[in-house]
């Protein structure tokens, strides 16, 4: 059988479950809770398979050396990885403890039941608790990957409503984010950043450093990395501003100002065909030929997606202390183990002298400034041994320096035959890589070279050129392969070089742009064929679960009288994330004003994410993903000129606010007993596609450039 990836590296039950003296159970996981409620889902799974009350279960925050190394919390994989491992660990443990109890009680295992951790005989009433069974026994038992799991009919916790782990503290302001740490002798710290990535310090007025020192502010410098630290936070912020004004910058070549979409099409690139299954192959790209003779209609479609920010509401932060040759770091990184490796390498420290612990931060939605801030804090902490350093990025720093989601261009062409069937399809996507930016081993360049401030130190590591990611549905070719039945689609990824900004993983990677592009063209083809949009998709979709999601969306929108108003327009879109995770269909109802502003009215989401553990959690992920993708679609673009990023606050990088939040209706299709399918990213692409399609139905315009704001809608109107 397939070896489960997380169990292969952590095969014992006690690497996942800990029974504590106060009769609670601690779940150890390598996946971190970044607001997606993964700890709630993992606790439900453990409660279910152990037959223990959900409220008796705590989920520990990942710490290097103590908890499983499950790499990054990314790609909607936490339920498949940690969820499945904890499920099997819990089921193994339950069977093991029932056998132990049978021995102790002198009864047959089959006569025993478990209720909240108490094993009891149905016949005699004799009982013993899990915890007393384990007082003199270790749980060093191998996980049985064939351990029988609970039958859905017997579930007590899976699929039921619970209060999410941590929510009560959040609402009461008691959650301690890494930003909130207050440790004895702690210093508050800020980095003094250059104007842009090409700038370096030419000279620095050292009298300012002396003045600052006299007032109790420490300055830390290594090449063009510069930071201040002080006991008082406000003083540290003022010192950083003062220090910035004392620097003469060498601005180097500045930021390339060539239009990014022109650059994507014309810069040097590596081009690869994407084969069936969604992975690129090392072969020449076949040229785009004339449409086949049977083609009666041929349509083209373009989508341009600008650089997008993760846009965490709390700028990145980290706390570090260097004491007794041990560097301890508190971070909201999505991968404490990979980060530990990168920082140890950058600082030439033995791996076992660096300890990294996860603490909550603001939602990150991918690789934002978290890892970079952790390294900044480490650099400063090394300069002030024994003192904890709490380093916070500013809003401006987060906006200007986080690794952005790649800008992309998608060029599509498709043909229909006389029966309205798609008989020809070409889809080329141009972009920078999404997945080479994380500070992790085994990818282009050293992990240490990915840490932002390492590039500004005296001994800055070499930057390597990104190489194309080759796995199925990763990077810019995520969801490039359509799920629809299309004969021999021509699929091409172009990894483009010499682009102006550092990029890395942002929720959905390339799937957002690819799905929006596919779904826009599919919708236009449906109109050209004279077939309603849902019906046209069903005609090209064999996947039964996908069909059900689309049909449910159609029924729900009809039941809610979508389309009954003259002034509102509707659009739908559908995708299965990575063609392997959750299925999701979205309907959007909107209005485009005379001034070309888009107002969202209602939204419908239908999703099949396999077996549902925490329905309210999945619903929140889908709704939240919809709001975020609507914001990308309507408002967002990173702006810049030769002097650097110009979108440095929430006015210059607007995101969706309350006054454009649609009423969202979410419908989940539960599949008890089926594998978990990650849901955190499924809704993004379909949301963008549904918005694009609704705007086209409202205006008759195919707006090819995102965001679909006043400027770009008007530009599309002028082009027509």
């Amino acid at each position: 059988m397939n070896v489960h990836p997380s169990i292969a590296t952590h095969p014992n039950v006690d690497q996942w479950l800990e029974f504590t003296a106060d009769e609670r159970i601690v779940v150890h996981t390598g996946k971190v809770d970044i607001g997606q409620r993964i700890s709630t889902a993992l606790a439900i799974i453990a409660a279910e398979e152990l037959d223990v009350d959900y409220n008796r279960i705590d989920v520990k925050r990942t710490q290097t050396g103590l908890d499983p190394d499950e790499g990054f919390t990314a790609g909607s994989m936490s339920m498949q990885h940690s969820g499945s491992a904890i499920r099997l660990a819990s089921a193994t443990t339950r069977h093991y403890l029932i056998d132990l109890a049978a021995n102790v009680l002198g009864l047959a295992p089959g006569t025993l039941v478990v209720d909240d951790g108490i094993v009891r005989s149905l016949v005699t009433g004799a009982h013993v608790s899990y915890w007393s069974l384990l007082t003199d026994k270790s749980l060093s038992v191998r996980i049985d990957e064939t351990a029988p799991l609970k039958r859905p009919a017997d579930y007590s916790w899976i699929g039921k409503a619970v209060i999410p782990k941590g929510l009560v503290d959040i609402v009461r302001g008691k959650t301690v984010f890494v930003h909130d740490l207050q440790l004895p002798q702690m210093l508050h710290s800020r980095v003094v950043r250059p104007p842009h990535s090409a700038a370096r310090i030419e000279s620095l007025d050292t009298t300012v450093i002396k003045d600052l020192k006299d007032s109790g502010v420490i300055t830390v410098q290594d090449g063009s990395f510069l930071a201040v630290a002080a006991t008082d936070e406000y003083r540290a912020t003022k010192a950083a501003a003062r220090l910035f004004s004392a620097i003469q910058w060498n601005l180097g070549s500045g930021i390339p100002t060539k239009d990014v979409f022109a650059a994507l099409r014309s810069n040097a690139k590596v081009s690869l065909p994407v084969a069936e299954g969604g992975a690129p192959i090392e072969q020449p790209v076949s040229p785009l030929t004339e449409p086949p003779e049977e083609a009666t209609i041929t349509l083209t479609s373009t989508l341009e997606k600008p650089y997008l920010m993760h846009g965490s509401i709390g700028p990145s932060a980290a706390c570090a202390v260097y004491e007794n040759d041990l560097l301890t770091i508190y971070t909201h990184s999505q991968g404490v183990y990979p980060l530990r490796g990168a920082i140890a390498e950058a600082l030439h420290l033995p791996l076992d002298t660096v300890q990294v612990t996860f603490m909550p931060g603001a939602g990150c939605y991918g690789h934002n400034g978290a890892d970079d801030a952790a390294f900044d804090a480490a650099l400063i902490a090394l300069a002030v041994p024994g003192k904890p350093v709490l380093l916070k990025w500013t809003r401006e720093e987060e906006h200007a320096w986080e690794p952005y989601g790649s800008a992309m261009v998608c060029e599509l062409r498709a043909s229909l035959d006389g029966n309205g069937k798609i008989i020809d399809w070409s889809h080329e996507s141009y972009g920078d890589t999404f997945i080479m930016g994380r500070p992790a081993a085994g990818r282009t360049g050293s992990p240490a070279s990915k840490l932002l401030s390492n590039r500004f130190r005296t001994d800055a590591p070499e930057q390597s050129l990104a190489q194309p990611a080759m796995g199925p549905h990763v990077g810019i070719h995520r969801n490039l392969e359509p799920l629809y039945t299309i004969p021999k689609p021509r699929l091409v990824k172009h990894l483009v070089g010499r682009l102006p900004f550092r990029t890395s993983a942002l929720r959905t990677l390339g799937a957002f742009a690819n799905i929006v592009a596919i779904e826009s063209l599919i919708d236009q083809l449906a109109d050209a064929a004279g077939v309603p949009p849902v019906e046209f998709r069903l005609q090209h979709l064999d996947d039964e679960r996908g069909r059900q999601v689309l049909q449910s969306l159609s029924e729900q929108m009809a039941a809610d009288a979508a389309g009954s108003s003259d002034i509102l327009s509707q659009g739908i879109a559908f995708a299965r994330y990575k063609n392997a995770a959750a299925y999701c269909a979205v309907g959007i109802e909107l209005e485009v004003s005379e001034q070309a502003n888009v107002r969202l009215i209602r939204a419908w989401v239908v999703a099949d994410a396999g077996e549902i553990v925490d329905p309210a959690g999945i619903t929140a992920q889908l709704e939240g993903g919809l709001i975020q993708a609507a914001s990308w679609s309507l408002y967002e673009t990173v702006t810049y000129d030769a002097n650097g990023v110009t979108s440095r606050d929430w006015d210059t990088y607007p995101i969706l606010r309350f006054n454009n939040v649609p009423h969202v209706h979410t419908l989940l299709i539960d599949r008890p007993g089926e594998p978990f399918l990650g849901a955190g990213e499924a809704v993004g692409g379909p949301t963008g596609g549904a918005i694009a399609n609704a705007i086209r139905r409202a205006t008759g315009l195919c707006v090819s450039r995102m965001p679909f704001n006043q400027n770009n809608i008007r530009a599309a109107a002028l082009k027509q």
Binding site: V168, I170, T237, G314, G625, D649
Partner: protein
């Protein structure tokens, strides 16, 4: 020395009078529920109640708040409406990462203390400054609905 009334208690503090209120709340008084999101009054994470009004604390100096009643998220459960709003947020799951949530609770409480049954325009007026990147807004709106449904 600056005297501030925070969550009903008077504190005499040795702080520079130009220090923004949020730093004083967080670092001098340990009230870290109030967050810093933008430090430029653009996101709402730092909202506190000042004499019952939702007020941003990330720019205005602490000296501005002398003689005023400041209530932070930590004092919200003492406010009858604040307590109801918190309960509704829990019941509706109106938070994901939770970084913006204290500000949202403050703004919602101020709104519902002033208007029993707010219109969509009232709600936008009160909450538009509050950014949430996780997309918890539909749940927050549901929480507001939940409180007003009980205001009968």
């Amino acid at each position: 020395m600056i005297a501030l009334t925070i969550n009903g208690q008077v504190h005499a503090l040795e702080v520079a009078p130009d220090t923004p209120l949020v730093f004083v709340l967080r670092n001098e008084l340990g009230l870290t529920g109030t967050k810093i999101g933008c430090a430029s009054e653009q996101c709402g994470a730092c909202a506190v109640l000042v004499d019952g009004e939702s007020t941003l604390s990330c720019v205005r100096p602490v000296a501005d708040f002398v003689d005023q009643q400041v209530v932070t998220i930590e004092g919200m459960s003492e406010d009858p409406m604040g307590s109801r709003v918190q309960q509704a947020f829990i019941e509706e799951g109106a938070a994901q990462c939770g970084y913006c949530t204290p500000g949202m609770v403050i703004a919602t409480t101020a709104l519902l203390n002033q208007i029993n049954r707010p219109t969509a325009t009232d709600i936008h007026g009160a909450l538009n400054i509050h950014l949430c990147r996780c997309g918890s807004q539909p749940r927050v709106l549901a929480a507001i609905q939940r409180v007003t449904d009980r205001n009968t």
